[in-house]
Amino acid sequence: MIRLVPRTETSAFWQIATPVMAVAATMLAGGLLFAIMGYDPVSAIRTIFWDPLFGPAAGYSRQQLLVKAAPLILIASGLAVGFRAGIWNIGAEGQYIIGAITGAAVALAAYPAPEMWIFPAMVVAGALGGWAWGMIPALLRNWFGASEILVSLMLVYVAQRIAAWMAFGPMKNPEGFGMPGSRNLQQYPAASNPELIAGTGAHWGVVAAAAAVLATWFLMSRHIRGFHIRAAGTAPRAARFAGVKPETLVAFCLGLSGALAGMAGLFEVAGPAGQITDKVGVGYGFTAIIVAFLGRLHPVGILLAGLLLALTYIGGELAQLTMNLPAATVQVFQGMLLFFLLGFDLLTRYRLTRRVTA
């Protein structure tokens, strides 16, 4: 009989090994699924995981990997800080949407002014918008003890309604024949977020994502606030005795993750998306939760996990094009990844022993 025995301390080896095992198990289970559906499992897995990197059109898909991973990494970096402290911001999607709206608002108000300050001001406005949206659950928790999980999640739906209102109302393109959606910021040079170096795919969002990885790494491993966060997550009572104020941490973590999500929203709306529509939120805020956990809440892990998730998106498209695999497979894949990760996570805190029963 196999038994689970709690470990006295979490295993460093399994910390690293479980994400790798989860990816491998996802490939196996995914391959099995494809085989049952009547597709060649080997070529399906190769199309999803290999072709975007080394296939015939890889020159294009490699740079798209960065574009797709950037918002995931940016949002997940912020979320992970809170998750380490046991502060659960599930509403990054809403903060992303609000950041996109406040950032775009600056551009639309300035249109068609050509000044250089417009784009930086949009980034600041986007971060502030996301921060403010994140502060609502923070303040409600600090003042009334409301669950930040529920409040932040519910605010996603409020944000979606605000986006629809903006797209059909105040931000509607006056030259758009009455159709919903704002002006396209890609066509407004002072406000657009274009490719920085031709051929790399890197826009300012990619730069910001890299900066966020570095900054959160510094925060968590070198800064006293990072120590407080880790302490509050692992031993809340001890942290309190050590003088860590939970209210401050709640405000800091929700504000930080909100600001990063808001910035991600702004970079997308000024870049790949181009405009505010009622569908400005495409689920990055939720997928980033998978990225944060898959990356073990560690900045470097998040970087790798973000790239991996981006790979499943782009490889999933290739699999549709070349093998007629249904689009839902990508979602199944991402779901499996989190499922296996949480399953294998058990091994970091427990070990398996065989006990022979007489």
Binding site: M179, Q186, G199, P272, K279, G283, L321, T322, A327
Partner: protein, 359 residues
């Protein structure tokens, strides 16, 4: 890869295919589609996919079709379109309004590939647009609604206050009023194209106000299911929804994109394709009226079918004056018909509709 490299690689492929004329002719024409929903949605995307299958049925080995489904409008659209272009498609159909700017951007990078964008209004040298005159279908179902209502209250489940939907509401009302001067139109804005729960709520809200015939612009069958429970009637939308026939679904207005795709792909094959703004109606086969069932009296059915045939033949325009706007100002004089420009920017209700039009 930057734009120049992209163009270079496309140019290289073109050169190769020109250098090998025998091969180029035998190669099937590659036709790509990008869908906003899953092909199994039973509505908007399903109808486009039926159109894709019609192309395959018509041209057989001469074409090869692929599609990307479930591609959200926004950040993913441009990449998905580029993937379709890099996969070697010769003509690409983008089947949702929100792809518009992405189509324009990608088409500029691939000048040798032909693009057509559904329901949009931006055209370039290699981007055409196509859409349906759904208001023509609403004239027919509006006529049936005006005849069939007992309470003289008909309802419309609207999606978003955009010109296409406003055209539909106006057309339905004008033709219901024509056959039933006492008719009133109630409008509920669902702010969704597909959401069974919301659509069911909208149908129930309308019925609670005494409405007994409902026209819907949303794409699910949920309103029909509610109508069935209360013994009232409605119409299929986007797809035929024949499983609810003969009642509550007494007829339908559905999208028959195959009529356009077959014509358009045929033109690409014989080299006569041009980037046009196609706005086709019942006469072109793009807008189809589903079978009018026996739940409708024979004379009403005959009246509706005669209107359908007159519109198809171009003898009658659903927006023919005299018509005033809801604010009382004059719009069309006696016998005057609306121009396409007026229709494609329509942002007002016609006189007699008292419902609110969000601006």
């Amino acid at each position: 890869m930057n734009r120049r490299q992209l163009i270079a690689s496309v140019a290289a492929m073109t050169t190769i295919s020109l250098a090998l004329p025998g091969w180029a002719q035998e190669d099937p024409l590659k036709v790509g589609f990008i869908y906003v929903g899953p092909v199994s949605d039973g509505g908007w995307t399903y109808q486009h996919d039926q159109g894709r299958l019609a192309v395959e049925a018509e041209f057989g080995d001469r074409v090869e079709t692929t599609y990307l489904e479930n591609v959200p409008e926004g950040v993913d659209a441009e990449r998905a379109l580029t993937q379709l272009a890099l996969a070697g498609n010769d003509v690409i159909y983008a089947t949702s309004f929100g792809y518009m700017d992405a189509v324009i951007n990608v088409a500029a990078k691939f000048p040798d590939i032909k693009f057509e964008h559904n329901t949009g209004y931006k055209r370039t040298e290699n981007v055409g647009t196509y859409d349906g005159r759904f208001y023509e279908g609403r004239a027919v179902t509006g006529t049936i609604a005006g005849r069939m209502t007992q309470s003289n209250k008909i309802g419309y489940i609207a999606t978003f206050p955009i010109p296409e939907v406003i055209q539909g509401i106006n057309s339905a009302y004008i033709h219901a009023k024509k056959v039933n001067p006492d008719v009133e139109m109630r409008v509920v804005w669902a702010y969704t194209w597909f959401d069974p729960a919301k659509e069911a709520d909208a149908a129930n809200a309308l019925m609670a106000e005494g409405v007994d015939v409902i026209l819907q612009h949303t794409n699910s069958t949920a309103p029909l299911a509610q109508l069935q429970q209360q013994g009232k009637i409605g119409f299929g939308q986007a797809s035929d929804m024949a499983s609810f026939a003969p009642s509550p679904r007494v007829s339908s207005v559905y999208n028959n994109w195959g009529a356009h795709y077959v014509k358009s792909v045929g033109r690409v094959l014989d080299g006569t394709w041009q980037p046009e703004g196609v706005w086709g109606g019942i006469g072109d086969g793009i807008v189809a009226i589903g079978e009018i069932t026996d739940a409708v009296p024979a004379e009403v059915k005959a009246e509706a079918e005669s209107l359908r045939d007159k519109i198809a033949a171009g003898e009658y325009h659903p927006f023919t004056g005299p018509l005033n706007k809801a604010d009382g100002s004059a719009w069309l004089a006696d016998g005057q018909t609306a121009t396409d420009e007026e229709l494609s920017g329509m942002n007002f209700f016609v006189e007699g509709i008292t419902a609110e039009l969000p601006q």
